[in-house]
Subunit: 405 residues, 2 copies
């Protein structure tokens, strides 16, 4: 007979998902209440307020989508984009390609610009492309874990306003660990996930939608058959191709109308609420500073071990670093050794970097000193056993210097 | 400062969601492991095996979709249906209309047949419609909570084989509490949710896909940009319009290829696994018998209170009953009294039944004697306070007779 779940203890120091904050898991063990219980709707409203602080926005339409981070990406794109609409995607890693893929499936005419992996875009390059393609939506990733790069966004908001383009940002990997200013930067729609810097499990995806995007989406409202009233008008925009990810209906579900849509994933909502609550309690600036500090310690540490770092470090996200696998070391075997003997997971990589770099994360609950030092200490042992030349104590020593400064 | 979550105690006796089994919530408090950790992939494989037993199928492709039950419905339809394909939906309640809505958004040419609320379809009526419309897919709800009806399915499988039609079933509200035989009944694709008879929270949706449906879906495989290899062929079928709910890719993610797709909602997976494990431990037949017994006690109880029951009781699901609100009683006020004073939730209703019936559920963890008797005792008090004529002790007494027999 199969027994209850009993996962092995793991310290997850890859590019995410990482260990959930135990307080988030405790919140998720609370018992359910009914979907329209006054306490439940009040909790939904409270969660909206907490995520406004996380996204740094006044957007009324701030809530969570019941799926993983890519569900929210698709919700954003399928709700904004009608077939034939032009979408521009600056691609600087795997997740830019994902935006392309999703936008294509929504029926968009997708245009891309690319920089080599390990770089980000200068704003004038993006503006030139906006001028050339005149898109309805500019869709951009903030932090792409595949390359560790963090695209500066502040100028893009201004460019989009100037050219009357909607700016969508996928902040899944960056939110909570890197500066993010939805309103100040002029973003129109942003989405995230819990499993990176927010310190929760995957499965609920925070989203915020500004007034310009709300207007576009609300024009497409079509209340579903089965619960539509005779006086429900259909908006003049084309019906959204998805029902589950239809943000026009989902906004009406979270708003005062409480439109019946999906059955709220209550346990995930409890988790999402606790992730935001903990971040707000810590303070967003303090959380970003914590990720910066532990990311800097990890960066110094891997360099102290004699490892080279991939990409333009000036534009690296705080919460992940890509480390070149030393010549002669079997990257997958070393990772397996770290997992099997030390219970520590670090990440492999995609596409052009596959087999070339490891990705090491310091995020969410694991953006802390003991996690950084234990990882560096174990990595030193594994590298030595793999035959790499490694500075004894160099990783932990360099990280400790960062912590002492 | 907002504090940690602290929901009020509620006994959820509506049509679902209901209280989660505490064992499921405990399983969900386990810490995360990495997405491709050998323990994690083994746990995914184990979960597939458990759901084969729940769905009574040998289908290799049996897993969970990371979203609520309607995410799995949409995954099924968007993956099976190409724009212009014909879909036939027998509508006998709100959730039939939902299948229509979702199929339309997938671009299907949708045909419907309808019976009055409170009835189900005779197989020959469905076969006539299949003959007349020659659909690619017959999409049918097994148990529609809006009317409490349970559509017999065994004959539909045979009809679909005869006419070379794919049979999709939404078993969200019925699975685990009513007989369900995916293979024996000739179904091609079935989906469910955790929040009804499976005793878990909403947010993960079990699915099983038979060989005929797998073939149709696999012809549409298009590995997403960003992780596609040069030797990844695109199938001859049209690209699936959703990426998140693309079952061709999701099958490759759950299968030996372990195609990178979404980030697994690990906590929901733990919950889904525990729901199935508990059902398998109890035995599916025993679980259905338990739902039958407590459903019969509740039915006898509401009748014993002098209340009339809506619909064709011979075709009622075991796990929910629709009760006519007595003349002169304000249905919403009585429900509010039950919630506020007794902590017990029963359900309101949709469409033609709104304001006419309450829906009372006995499902999952709440398909048990104390939950039935407490609900009947409290309902008696609330009815009396609302001015209805009610038989003192009649509800609990009638239920006790069922339990004694």
């Amino acid at each position: 007979m199969t027994g209850p779940i009993d996962p092995p203890p793991r310290l997850l120091m890859g590019p995410g998902p990482v260990n959930a904050d135990p307080r988030v898991l405790r919140a998720m063990s609370a018992q359910l209440v009914g979907q329209y219980d006054p306490w439940m709707t009040a909790t939904m409203t409270e969660t909206m307020g907490l995520y406004r602080e996380v996204f740094r926005t006044d957007n009324e339409q701030t809530f969570v989508v019941d799926g993983t981070s890519r569900a929210a990406i698709e919700a954003a794109l399928v709700s904004l984009v009608e077939p034939g609409d032009r979408v521009l995607v600056p691609v600087f890693g795997r997740f830019g390609h994902l935006l392309v893929e999703i936008a294509q499936r929504c029926g968009a005419e997708v245009h891309t610009i690319e920089v080599p992996w390990g770089e980000v875009f200068a704003p004038e390059v993006v503006e030139d492309a906006v001028r050339a393609t005149r898109p309805k939506v500019l869709a951009v990733v903030q932090g792409d874990t595949s390359t560790t790069m963090c695209q500066p966004l502040a100028d893009l908001g201004e460019i989009c306003r100037r050219h009357d383009v909607l700016l969508y940002c996928d902040a899944t990997a960056s939110l909570g660990g890197n500066a993010f200013e939805h309103d100040a930067w002029g973003l129109d729609l942003s989405t995230a996930g819990l499993q990176k810097c927010l310190g929760g499990p995957s499965g609920s995806a925070p989203i915020t939608i500004g007034p310009r995007a709300v207007e576009v989406i609300d024009r497409r409202l079509h209340v579903e058959t089965g619960i539509r009233d005779d006086d429900d008008e259909t908006g003049p925009g084309g019906r959204i191709r998805s029902n589950y990810l239809d943000l026009a209906q989902v906004m009406a579900y979270w708003g005062p109308r409480r439109l019946n849509h999906h059955t709220e994933a209550t346990t995930m909502l409890y988790g999402a609420r606790e992730c935001a609550r903990l971040l707000v309690e810590e303070g967003l600036d303090a959380a970003v500073a914590r990720h910066e500090r532990h990311g800097r310690a990890m960066l110094a540490g891997v360099r102290g071990l004699g490892l080279a770092v991939f990409g333009d470090v000036a534009h690296k996200m705080h919460n992940v670093v890509a480390v070149e696998i030393p010549d002669g070391v079997d990257g997958d075997r070393a990772r397996a050794g770290l997992l099997d003997d030390f219970g520590i997971e670090i990440g492999t990589s995609f596409g052009p970097l596959h087999g070339r770099v490891w990705r090491i994360g310091t995020m969410g609950h694991n953006a802390r000193k003991d996690a950084v030092l234990v990882t560096l200490a174990a990595l030193e042992q594994v590298l030595r056993a793999s035959g790499a030349s490694v500075t004894a104590g160099g990783g932990v020593g360099a990280a400790q210097e960062v912590y002492a400064s």
